[in-house]
């Protein structure tokens, strides 16, 4: 059991939330975008923090939305992606309620 727990701690999580906000110059920004593009190409991208190691593995159909906005010189570009992972998880059989006849006594 001990060994299992260690394994779990070592492998990245698929649940959790990672947020990062910053200001960047365009050159640095391109580096971030490239990292994300590489992640899509490689099929996975990791997001880490002291208490989190989250891996996203985009595959199958990916929802993609672009919003570009300009108003009085305040510009905004939003990119959004969403997809579903673990599509073949097994239904836990033990969830079935089974009723068996009891002892007549």
């Amino acid at each position: 059991m001990q060994c299992d727990d260690n394994d779990k701690a070592a492998s990245p999580a698929t649940e959790g939330k990672f947020t990062f906000e910053s200001a960047q110059d365009v050159e640095t920004l391109v580096g971030y975008l490239r990292a994300i593009t590489d992640g899509f190409e490689a099929g996975s991208m990791r997001f880490t923090r002291k208490d989190l190691d989250l891996v996203l593995s985009p595959k199958g159909l990916v929802g993609f939305a672009v919003e570009a906005k300009g108003k009085e010189g305040r510009m905004k570009l939003t990119l959004k992606f969403h997809w579903r992972e673990n599509v073949e998880a097994k239904e836990p059989e033990e969830d079935t309620l089974t009723i068996t006849p009891g002892d007549a006594r």
Binding site: L61, V87, A89, E91, E93, T96
Partner: protein, 551 residues
């Protein structure tokens, strides 16, 4: 509808009067006329009175309780809700003509599209009586959808007004126009309430008098006493396919084995029911016991009624969603076996065309009405070309020209998973709702089957996985069937069938997010097909991206 005795006339007047108020409000906007404004104001009192009269009658009926008849009480409540909303709509008409007087330049409003609002509102008002009296859910949905259109119109006009304000147009004119549009938008809210009240009145409602008569006649012909009492007579489905269906419980003693637990009564358009009866007979000759048996059929001019065996068991949909995993797996196994036999037995080696994109195009207006944003224009993103939705459709339609099914089978025609009944005791499958059966491309049934799983509003991941599994297994099975009969274009036709089903299903989907998910998948599949077509590789090599079925 006994509750309408004494209310019916008042109610008709109510609809008529409100319609007139709305029409007159439009007239005032077109040609300001103080005389007409006075008239509108004075009619408002009459409408208020009418509303009180109807309200009193409805309440007294609700309180006397119709002898505990819940349906009648529900209908009285629905009439009351509709009346209250009509009265509110009339108030908005008055508000609009009041606002109109504040326009410094009465012609100013003509730069905006107020006519479109009025056209939509009138459309909904014209449907109210028919939808309520016929308990017509399809019409009620049409009424509800008007609200969505009005909201979109409001946004467009609101933006235009804002732009004019920024340009320095007269604030008096702009703000007054905005107020007028706000009232028009609020009329939309009242319309939605009306549509919902009609659905409330219709769902689970008992048959109309003439349907009751038709059933009585049909049963009498069978030499049976009319076995109907309140408790025995359920309306189990609405009017989605234009027929009303009810179930009459078995009266005991006449039962044949476990199947005959009652009879099902259907009443509706004669041609449609006759067609269904013919289909049932053909299904019976192909596989006895697959369809319900017809116990009586009676035509009366344009309408007909039919008594069918009521099949025990539950729908495949219920099994998939609520059955124990082994039972669900077993139901799927039996279903696939049955389908394989039916397809193999009815195969005709003559090419047929499904015409999926054409089917989609014929329903496009309904899709747009529900989701106007789906009509996307051609766009560009940093040099990348994003085609307009309708351009994609046109290209897909052209591509479809080159794709025909090498053979036909006798298809169900509406192979939704709730049109399949699974009887666990007898270990067999039944087909119901067979008015669309014909010799066609089996892809028609395959795509409808798959999407009827996909579009279930189930978000719970474990249940979703059950649906995924059913879709996966069914797809696997149909792929094997296609290979067995050397159907080289199956995958491409299936993609087209799914495009049709994804996009057209969105017209019944109120959840905007899920509707979009389906629409996007349809668009994705078209682009996927077109990319393959451009590569000029043969269609034999095309494979449907299964990921489209995972949500």
């Amino acid at each position: 509808m006994k509750f309408l005795d004494g209310v019916e006339e008042n109610f008709r007047f109510m609809v008529l009067e409100v319609t007139k108020q709305v029409e007159n409000a439009l007239k005032v906007l077109e040609h300001p006329d103080p005389g007409l404004v006075v008239k509108i104001e004075s009619r408002d009192d009459y409408i208020d009175n009418l509303k009180s009269v109807i309200e009193n009658k409805c309440f007294s009926r609700i309180h006397t309780g119709f002898g505990g008849d819940k349906r009648a009480i529900d209908q009285a409540r629905a009439v009351n809700i509709i009346t209250a909303n009509l009265e509110r709509m009339a108030d908005h008409a008055v508000n609009i003509v009041m606002q109109q007087q504040y326009l410094r330049d009465p012609a100013f409003i003509k730069r905006y599209d107020y006519q479109a609002f009025f056209a939509e509102i009138m459309k909904a008002l014209h449907l109210v009586i028919r939808a309520l009296y016929n308990q017509d859910i399809a019409l009620a949905f049409k009424i509800c959808r008007v609200e969505v259109t009005l909201d979109t119109l409001f946004k467009t006009n609101f933006d235009a007004i804002l732009a004019d304000l920024r340009k320095g147009e007269s604030p008096e004119n702009c703000i007054t126009c905005h107020n007028i549009f706000r009232y028009l938008e609020r009329m939309g809210d009242t319309i939605l309430n009306i549509g919902e009240a009609i659905i409330f009145a219709a769902v689970g409602e008992k048959f109309k008098i003439h349907q009751y008569e038709a059933l009585k006649q049909t049963l009498t012909q069978l030499g049976q006493e009319v076995p109907i009492s309140d408790g025995e007579f359920h309306s189990i489905w609405g009017t989605r396919s234009g027929c009303r269906i009810g179930k009459v419980e078995g009266t005991g003693g006449r039962q044949r084995g476990s199947r005959a637990s009652g009879v099902l009564f259907k009443e509706g358009n004669a041609a449609k029911l006759r067609n269904e009866a013919q289909n049932i007979n053909r299904w019976k000759s192909i596989m006895p016991g697959l369809p319900p048996t017809i116990q009586a059929f009676q035509e009366d001019g344009d309408s007909a009624s039919m008594l069918m065996e009521y099949l025990g068991g539950c729908t495949y949909q219920e099994v998939v969603l609520t059955g124990a995993p082994d039972i669900a797996a077993n139901a799927t196994f039996i279903l696939l076996q049955t389908v394989h036999q039916l397809w193999s037995d009815t195969i005709r080696k003559e090419p047929v065309r499904g015409g999926y994109i054409k089917q989609l195009q014929s329903r496009l207006e309904d899709v747009y009405r529900m989701h106007p944003s789906f009509k996307t224009p051609r766009m560009g993103l940093e040099g990348l070309d994003i085609p307009a939705f309708e351009e994609l459709l046109a290209s897909a339609a052209e591509l479809e020209q080159g794709l025909e099914a090498p053979f036909s089978v006798f298809i169900h025609g509406d192979f939704n998973i709730n049109n399949i009944v699974y009887n666990h005791e007898e270990q067999r499958i039944h087909y119901i709702d067979l008015h669309r059966s014909k010799d066609q491309d089996y892809v028609q049934d395959v795509s409808v089957f798959l999407i009827s799983n996909f579009r279930l509003p189930v978000l719970d991941l474990r249940l979703r996985e059950r649906l995924d599994r059913v879709m996966r297994e069914f797809l696997h099975f149909t792929r094997a069937f296609a290979a067995e009969f050397s159907d080289d274009t199956f995958e491409a036709r299936l993609a087209l069938g799914l495009v049709r089903s994804f996009v057209t299903s969105s017209r019944f989907e109120f959840n905007q997010r899920f509707a979009k998910e389906m629409y996007h998948r349809g668009v994705f599949l078209m682009q996927n097909l077109l990319a393959h077509s451009r590569s000029s590789c043969p269609w034999r090599g095309y494979r449907l991206p299964e990921a489209v079925l995972i949500y």
